[in-house]
């Protein structure tokens, strides 16, 4: 099981600024360790929900850096809204974490 994500959702006006850091090797399948190729191992899909409604989703490739970071913004959010983020990788491993939207400065 992968390490937990770090998610931060800060309110700026009525826009939630969501930043997420995922712990994942994002192997490209091109790197070699000794003379053995390290197999492809990367996150394929990310979805984010605000209070149960999907607001942001991504299909991504191995071009994304190791320990991926994403940020996105959602209008109409309030302090206390629930943010749930899920990723799934090409081996079927997945992870879901959640946080709540916080007012700026709190």
């Amino acid at each position: 099981m992968a390490d937990p994500m770090k998610i931060r959702a800060t309110l700026q006006g009525d826009v939630a600024d969501v930043r997420v850091l995922m712990a994942h090797p994002m192997e490209t399948g091109q790197r070699k360790q000794g003379d053995k190729v390290v197999p492809l191992h990367f996150i394929q899909n990310v979805t984010a929900q605000l209070n149960g409604a999907t607001v942001f989703s991504a299909d991504i490739s191995q071009s994304i850096s190791r320990n991926p970071v994403f940020a996105f913004k959602v209008k109409g959010a309030k302090a206390g809204d629930k943010v749930v983020i899920t990723w799934q990788d090409n081996t079927g491993d997945k992870r879901t974490d959640e946080t709540t939207v916080r007012a700026a400065g709190s």
Binding site: R31, N45, L50, V55, F56, S61, A71, F72, K73
Partner: protein, 154 residues
Amino acid sequence: MESTRRKLLKAGWGLGLLAAFGAALVKPGRALAAWNKGAFEAKTMADGMKALGVANAVESSEIVIHAPQIAENGAVVPIDVTSNIPGTSSISVFIEKNPFPYTGTFDFAQGAIAFVHLRAKLGETTPVRAVVVAGGKYYTTAKEVKVTIGGCGG
């Protein structure tokens, strides 16, 4: 009495089966099923765009790519893409000279603003291209990023 109990048991079975079936139907992620293998495995940007169905993309200055002009470390290059085109539903990113240029598509819904920040690996100096879908039309722009140390292999 006996018959009522039988009926209840049968009804229970039916419900259980329905519930199990329903769960199985709902379970597979919609977006995951759509992971576009053809586009992701394309070795050139043109093929990747074709597999994605991008056609007649118009160059637009309303898309802003914010990325360093010179990236010292190609393994982690921060890229911000903002689309100021009304009705933007998704942003796709291509890194033209990577072995597999198609880097990802970001979909926005329910109040999400057409903005995404990501960090990508750049194998060499390359244009980074964003393709925006808005109202069923395609818009695009690109920005060159110089890489001094590549992010692939090692």
